[in-house]
Symmetry: C2
Subunit: 317 residues, 2 copies
């Protein structure tokens, strides 16, 4: 049930014939099939991945794009070859400053026909993966079969799926998904700041049971164990606060330390005594970089990086 | 990528401890674990399943529920035990007229706290399955692990997931999902007709490549092979018509006969010569019962059974 966002169509991919080319500012251009790639040492990383547009549906005015509430986040175990190992095999030439990643997905966006492309600065972080497996099985088509990039800590747009080419370049990449899309902008003409790492966010596992076609949860009176997950691309979550009254009063929840999976969300829990009536529960995370979820929603044109505190309506009877 | 609609939460299910109870108007009440169920003969059926609300997003005014365009349909191979075999083992008592199926999913709908329940008339169709596998592997949690009903030809609401109980009754079931929800109604107070079998529908595999954030497909000039699928719960598809101009003129597409999978959609194809400019492609299916897709959308309060012809905007350059 990991979320999926696809800009264009899911390509039909033949894993047997697939080649990953590595070129541009390298000493030895490479063309790797899956067997060649798997001869390199592999690692597995548990990574929480969130769409940069998660939460967009709450914005007003609402940017025209995928109207996510808070469901566009997931955590999986990704297995593959460190990007660094592949770049070491090709050898970055003098002056290479970024790696540009090209997927096999092709379409039109605001009048520009393109393959999906994103870049990352060099040197690559050691945990960036060229992944071929998710939760122990080959990638499914919608998750990038046969190869995708996995960039722990970054929003989903960086995790290029159906990866077919890596090109090292000697000046920062200016492609559509880097300089037109995925920028924090208030006005259409400003250059804006790039969308990169995930802002801190805590979510509550929905308590009780649902009221179909509303966002209200229903519980019966008494003690309710509340639990959830929290993550940030800027460092471990250090604090999750819980409010039983929509944000008027707050108490600290118990947060599990990051442990052996620094790229994955952390569990948290607390107790709440439900009394008959309507309630709004709220949760708020803070990370080790000093970032905290906002109480009021900032706005940007693309609807990116929204991490407003979560408020969950609950009816108790 | 099979569609999923869940009224309440996906239950946490322990397959080892699961019991399917069979009771009510039977001679021998049963409590079957998965091992006992699998001692009965199993069959596999390829079944096209569509949400009764597929197409709802096109209605005006739009009923408040899942805003599907046309994505809420899928086809899978379901393996399980014929419902008839289980009912034969229990033995319907004199006067039993319907079987009521209860899932483990629990929630509130329009103020009514309930387990999800639906019924089918007796005798059961021979192809109705109590399925434990989908495409050769155990059901995933979102598709009803460990057991679900599969009712070929019927809309999805009949295929009760997380099936835990079958009760035979001697008068027609009047539960919420049978007499309140899932009725074709124009006015709130009328009893309405029950939603049962899938109306005929043809869909086009999107040609060319997409324009992100629009529903327009982009093609280059020349001959384009168009293909798609068509299905009906009332009998085989006998005719699919194609229109290159939004429904002004029509030609017949080539339709594959149903063959060995009468419960599954049928493939169809045709050729189209794309010329520069904007086009609206349209497709329209007819089945052996004499039903044909409407050119104008009828409306009902729940937004059920919509099978308006599909119109696909295409830009050619």
């Amino acid at each position: 049930m990991h979320y999926v966002l696809v800009h264009y169509d899911i390509p039909e991919a033949d894993g047997e014939a697939w080649r990953l080319s590595v070129g541009g500012k390298v000493r030895t251009p490479l063309s790797l099939d899956l067997a060649a790639l798997r001869t390199l040492p592999t690692i597995t990383r548990r990574v929480t991945m969130e769409c940069a547009g998660n939460g967009r549906a709450r914005l007003s005015p609402r940017p025209v794009s995928q109207p996510w509430l808070v469901e566009a986040v997931g955590t999986a175990d990704w297995t593959g070859v460190p990007l660094r190992s592949v770049l070491d095999a090709a050898g970055a030439a003098t002056g290479a400053v970024e790696a540009v990643f090209t997927g096999a997905d092709h379409g039109v966006e605001r009048g520009v026909e393109q393959d999906y492309q994103r870049s990352l600065p060099l040197p690559a972080d050691k945990d960036v993966l060229i992944a071929y497996a998710m939760n122990g099985t080959p990638l499914s088509p919608q998750h990038g079969y046969p190869l995708r990039l996995v960039v722990p800590g970054w929003y989903g747009m960086a995790h290029v799926k159906w990866l077919r080419d890596i090109t090292l370049v000697d000046s920062p990449f200016t492609g559509f998904q880097q300089t037109v899309a995925y920028r924090y902008r208030q006005e259409p003409e400003e250059p804006g700041e790039p969308v990169t790492r995930m802002a801190p966010r805590a979510l509550l596992v929905p308590p009780g049971f649902p009221d179909f076609m509303s966002r209200t949860r229903v519980v019966h009176p008494g003690s309710v164990r509340l639990e959830g997950r929290a993550w940030s691309g800027y460092g471990p979550i250090e604090r999750v606060r819980f409010s039983p009254d929509g944000g008027h009063t707050w108490t600290d929840a118990e947060v599990t330390p990051p442990g052996e999976h620094p790229g994955a969300w952390q569990a948290w829990h607390t107790e709440w005594t439900a009394t008959p009536g309507s309630h709004t529960l709220a949760v708020r995370a803070s990370d080790s970089s000093g970032r905290t979820q906002p109480l009021e929603q900032p706005w940007n044109r693309g609807g990116f990086g929204n991490n407003l505190i979560q408020r969950v309506p609950v009816l108790c009877y």
